[in-house]
Amino acid sequence: MAEDRNDWPLWEVFVRSRNGLAHRHVGSLHAVDGEMAVEMARDVYCRRAEGVSVWVARSADIVASDPARKDDMFEPMVSKIYRHPTFYEIPSEVKNI
């Protein structure tokens, strides 16, 4: 089983469930190349008409934020409550705003 030590690369699979919706991550699979990954994504993740479009991307190519630095990364946005419409008080007589 020597060849298995060198397993096919991992791909992340994204499926658009119907037109008008964004592609959504559904899981991953192993495939030798992109073409095979798309075909296998159909068999593994779309056996019940779950989608109308599939994207695959090599897992190794995905760059992610560091969960350990989550607080530094997202805190500055959390404290900026004036970015939300509810921060502003508008008299109730004023309509359509």
């Binding site: 089983m1 030590r5 060198n6 899981g27 192993h30 030798v32 095979m36 593994v44 560091d66 969960p67």
Partner: protein, 333 residues
Amino acid sequence: MYTQGLDQRPADGATKAGDDPAALAAFQARVDREEKIEPNDWMPQGYRRTLVRQISQHAHSEIVGMLPEGNWITRAPSLRRKMILLAKVQDEGGHGLYLYSAAETLGVPRAEMVDQLLAGKAKYSSIFNYPTLTWADIGAIGWLVDGAAIMNQVPLCRCSYGPYARAMIRICREESFHQRQGYELMLKLAQGTSEQKRMAQDALDRWWWPSLMMFGPSDRESIHSSQNMAWKIKRVSNDELRQKFVDATVPQGHYLGLTFPDPELRFDEASGHWTHGPIDWSEFNRILAGDGPCNRERMAARRKAHADGAWVREAAAAFAAKRARRQRAEAAE
């Protein structure tokens, strides 16, 4: 289903060397707040080990679980039944793949897990070591085995580890078809000729007790459920799940006009539950130890399938390498 083997191994304590107590406490607090744990988050070593073992055993069970049913695809009695069985067996393969992916997010390559299974070092559910002797067994597996799997898997949809919980949600959605097609098959047999009804009864007789064993040892024997409960990997105890299954299944069997192979089975008015006789745990332990009716046959079939597929894996890898070389050469021109 198929998490029963977990209860057969010593506990992975939370406080093994290397885990910082403050980090452990913060982790437990997250779990207590019902936050999901995601792949790159810090987690205790024991949590990771327990999940790798449970998810990989679960994946192996799905893959080995294709064998008892695959045995009947070419002998299905009608085209309708053959299409249904093919779809079901394909689903089991898909479930194995979702679960291997979930386990891989914990840092273990799939090839390593497959090697462990083929080397006989990994466990899978005891239920797949029983033979499928007649067509009625296909009905009994869908109704009872998939029914028991659903009982066990629904709480796993709320497991604290995100990728496992998400895989379980997909799987539970699909298992419902498996159980219903099985019950419908049993119903057809139960309403058929006396010979067909006898087949249905025989299948129930053989699959009932093994299905109850699928929930794993009694809570009294299961030494380390508490850590897994605290980590919210396991959310409902073995005995509670088994009772839910018995309560749901017994009336379904009576509707079929069949009897359960348990003289002590009775409805207890006071508790509102069906109570059953003692389970033969020596049979369960024997099968988990590798000495069930089909353990050797199942492993031999998996090894053969893996070896027979080697040329396909090699050819695909060689083709991809050739194409990548050609693309690099064209890009260089």
